[in-house]
């Protein structure tokens, strides 16, 4: 049994972690923290847990002995309570942004201000099994990428690594309201947020830096909030290499993803779901990757979709936990998704 504590258990990522970990046969959740709800039952604000646990929230600074710390709270990696647990040997899996960027200058550009802990960021292994599985089996600090970054990296990296695309990419991200967390306030009031196409980041989205770091590409990225609670999609416009064919693309993806449990290549000629569509991935740990290639006009668009709280956050973190602790990689992540929905 792996003992796990969830820091920031009351948030949306925290709740998703608990949903996956409480029924996980190889994991015991020893704590979930929240200052706001300290002492209250975790199934109070996470209603899908009703009937499955009697756990209550501990305050953020009261962390028990554990094997793994899952951080779903901004800034938590630097807190004293977390540092103490880490020093006692706990593996750290951080879902927040702080440890994702190895380069402090890049951090400064995108987050403003100095990096709170450059030495920690320097050693963190990116929490993306598709790119770093071997390193993850023994990593002590794991930095799970951002939700749209994960999608874009999984779409771009195989083609970039194979030299099939040019150096520049334009990423257009779309995301549901859970992407801003459970404490978003007035901008997320239902009557305001429903039905929007809110171009909250016309350009310069923070995930540019993560995608560039993982793929070596020069990345420009914008993002729009859409009328959904969960789900994210990225469209990546790239320049195809000379002479590129559809077969080359499929071959490159196949080579990379044939054995991946959670990446599917979806580029079909028929049906309502020809390209990656977030809605059928809600609750899953899948990232569907697809593409559209118009060879005649040299237009190549790579598309990826996932659940921002699933493969885009909590699900991916659980996959990393499984990899790190030597558990079957799909454990706790078996849900296939819903259709219709």
């Amino acid at each position: 049994m792996v003992d796990v504590a969830v820091v920031g258990g009351a948030g949306y990522i925290g709740g998703e972690l608990l949903r996956m970990l409480i029924p996980h046969p190889d994991v015991t959740v020893v704590a979930a923290t929240s200052d706001r709800l300290a002492g209250r039952r975790v199934d109070g604000n996470h209603p899908t847990l009703r009937g499955h646990t009697d756990l209550t929230y501990a305050p953020h600074d009261r962390l028990p002995d554990c094997d793994v710390l899952l951080l779903a709270a901004p800034g938590a990696a630097m807190s004293d309570a977390v540092r103490a647990r880490v020093n006692a040997g706990a593996v750290l899996i951080d879902i927040g942004p702080e440890l994702r960027l190895a380069d402090p200058a890049t951090y400064r550009r995108y987050y403003g201000g100095e990096h709170p802990s450059p030495e920690l960021a320097a050693v963190a292994v990116p929490g993306l099994p598709e790119l770093h599985r071997a390193a993850l089996t023994k990593a002590d600090t794991i930095a799970v990428p951002g939700c749209m970054a994960t999608a874009a990296i999984l779409a771009l990296q195989p083609l970039a690594a194979a030299g099939l695309i040019g150096p520049d990419v334009l990423v257009d991200g779309r995301i549901g309201s859970s992407g801003s967390g459970s404490q978003a306030g007035e901008v997320n009031q239902h009557a305001e947020r429903a039905g929007v196409l809110r171009v909250f980041a016309p350009s310069g989205h923070r995930h540019e830096a993560e995608i560039a770091q993982a793929t070596g590409l020069s990345v420009r990225m914008g993002a729009t909030g859409v009328d959904a609670v969960r789900g994210a999609q990225v469209l990546c416009r790239v320049t195809p290499a000379d002479g590129l064919t559809e077969l080359d693309i499929r071959t490159a993806y196949r080579a990379r993803y044939a054995d991946e449990p959670f990446v599917r290549v979806i580029a079909q000629r028929r049906g309502n779901y020809r390209l990656p569509e977030p809605k059928i991935l809600l609750g899953t740990n899948y990232c569907d990757v697809g593409f559209s290639f118009d060879a005649a006009h040299g237009e190549l668009v790579l598309i990826a979709a996932l659940d921002n709280l699933g493969k885009g956050g909590a699900g991916n973190a659980v996959q990393c936990l499984n990899v790190r602790m030597g558990l079957p990689e799909r454990r706790g992540l078996e849900f296939l998704g819903l259709h219709p929905i």
Binding site: I175, S177, G179, S180, V187, R198, F200, A201, A223, G225
Partner: protein
Amino acid sequence: MSACPQCGGGISVPESVQLNEILECPECRAEIEVMSVDPLLIAVAPDVDEDWGE
């Protein structure tokens, strides 16, 4: 009618305007501070952009 220092849009400054009063540009919605009344001098107030992110 003054010009917004941020966007060049027209701002009608009330006659009764006072020093350090904050006006709002109708075009870009920048907050404009009255730095001096006579002569009228206005400047963009320090930016406190609201978060709009996800």
